[in-house]
């Protein structure tokens, strides 16, 4: 259990988890050069993500988890409602059931590859230059305890 999904508390926990990065177990499962690439991206990543839930129950859709990266850490992580201004480098959207599946352990790479999460706004080619960083970030978000 954890704070409610798409709550202020959950967003704060996500921000801390993203700043901390992948777990030691996740790091052990892949080559050090992969993580060197990941760390080099993370150190200078200047972009922001708005990760949407298109059909969040009980909320006017869509709502977004806004993540601003700066200096290798998450500088801002909060929930943006449908009436708030949506300004992010990359805006992505995913259905509630797919968010739930991600938290239940569905693979983050396949979440992208199977188009469960989709880029709605932002440069596609620039986004994919840092795709491993994004996928690992998505896996970290999926591991943050939350209540659906």
């Amino acid at each position: 259990m954890g704070p409610p999904f798409f709550s202020k508390e959950w967003a704060a926990a996500v921000g801390e988890a993203l700043t901390a990065g992948p777990s030691p177990a996740a790091r052990d499962a892949k080559l050090s050069e992969y993580w060197a690439f990941f760390d080099s991206i993370k150190a200078d990543y200047p972009a922001s993500w708005a990760l949407g839930c298109r059909d969040l129950p009980g909320a006017p859709a869509p709502s977004y988890l806004f993540v601003q990266w700066c200096g290798g850490a998450v500088a801002d992580c909060r929930i943006i409602g449908p009436d708030d201004p949506l300004e992010a480098t990359y805006v992505l959207g995913m259905d509630y059931r797919d968010w739930q599946a991600l938290h239940d352990g569905y693979d983050a790479q396949r979440t992208v590859m199977y188009r469960k999460i989709l880029l709605e706004d932002g440069s596609l080619l620039e986004f994919f230059k840092t795709i491993y960083f994004f996928v690992e970030g998505l896996a970290v978000i999926g591991a943050v305890p939350t209540r659906f």
């Binding site: 992969y34 790479q109 986004f127 994919f128």
Partner: protein
């Protein structure tokens, strides 16, 4: 087969197993904005890719011994052999397919999609790496049904690549600025293709990393020659850092 041979073979075959599925499901949107002649070719290719997906499904059931109720069960079972970096070309293709779905007559988006699908995934990755398992099966005298079926698959892929290169060549011929779309797509692909998340050993199958890398370079040069374009100097630099990715279509 030795354990090392089996592990190397599984790593490569799993890339194809998932790659065939991906190129099958991401191709239909490309047909919307195509000419009538191209639509005939694409329709036939979708059928080919579906057969390739079934071929690998049967290989994993009947040869490897995986069990499942449906195609996705077998894909789930082979996925642990797929490298984490697989998402770069195939996630890009999925997102470019979505871009084409939203704007099916956007010729620039179609050229970017075609660069990832036909030039890189089919023309470079698939046509290079398929030689590894085929030559191994022939050299060792193993897996005769795989050899026969995958040889037929490769003939299909060669035809798809020819069609794809013709499409890109005509797109550049009609509008020379389309070369920028091809170059920009290759910049993205090559900027992440030098990264590996797990070590795949080609040696048990009779190849070295350098030999596979040479195959990549040869295929890329040939495909660029077919399209009638060169690489920009900065892309040449990126190319020098590329690792052989285990994936195909």
């Amino acid at each position: 087969m030795t354990q090392a041979e089996r592990e190397s073979f599984m790593a490569i075959a799993s890339g194809f197993h998932h790659g065939e599925r991906q190129v099958e499901v991401e191709l239909p949107v490309f047909m919307i904005g195509a000419t009538e002649e191209e639509k005939l070719h694409i329709a036939a290719q979708i059928e080919d890719e579906a057969r390739h997906t079934v071929f690998f499904d049967r290989f994993y059931r009947e040869v490897v011994g995986m069990q499942g109720d449906d195609i996705m069960d077998i894909l789930d079972a082979s996925f642990p052999w797929v490298s984490e970096t697989f998402v770069a070309p195939f996630g890009l293709l999925a997102y470019q397919a979505d871009e084409v779905r939203r704007n099916p007559f956007d010729e620039r988006a179609r050229v970017r999609y075609g660069t990832t699908y036909f030039l890189w995934i089919e023309g470079v990755l698939a046509l290079s790496v398929m030689k590894v398992t085929l030559s191994y099966a022939r050299w060792r005298g193993f897996l005769p049904a795989y050899y026969t079926g995958f040889t037929a698959t490769c003939r299909d892929e060669s035809r798809h690549v020819q069609g794809g290169m013709r499409y890109l060549q005509q797109a550049v011929s009609k509008d020379p600025t389309m070369i920028n779309e091809i170059h920009d797509t290759l910049r993205t692909i090559l900027s992440v293709s030098g990264v590996i998340s797990r070590r795949i050993y080609y040696e048990p199958l009779g190849w070295t990393d350098d030999e596979v890398r040479v195959l990549f370079f040869q295929q890329l040069r040939r495909k660029l020659n077919d399209v009638g374009i060169d690489l920009a100097p900065d892309i040449e630099d990126l190319l020098a850092r590329v690792q052989p990715q285990l994936a195909g279509g």
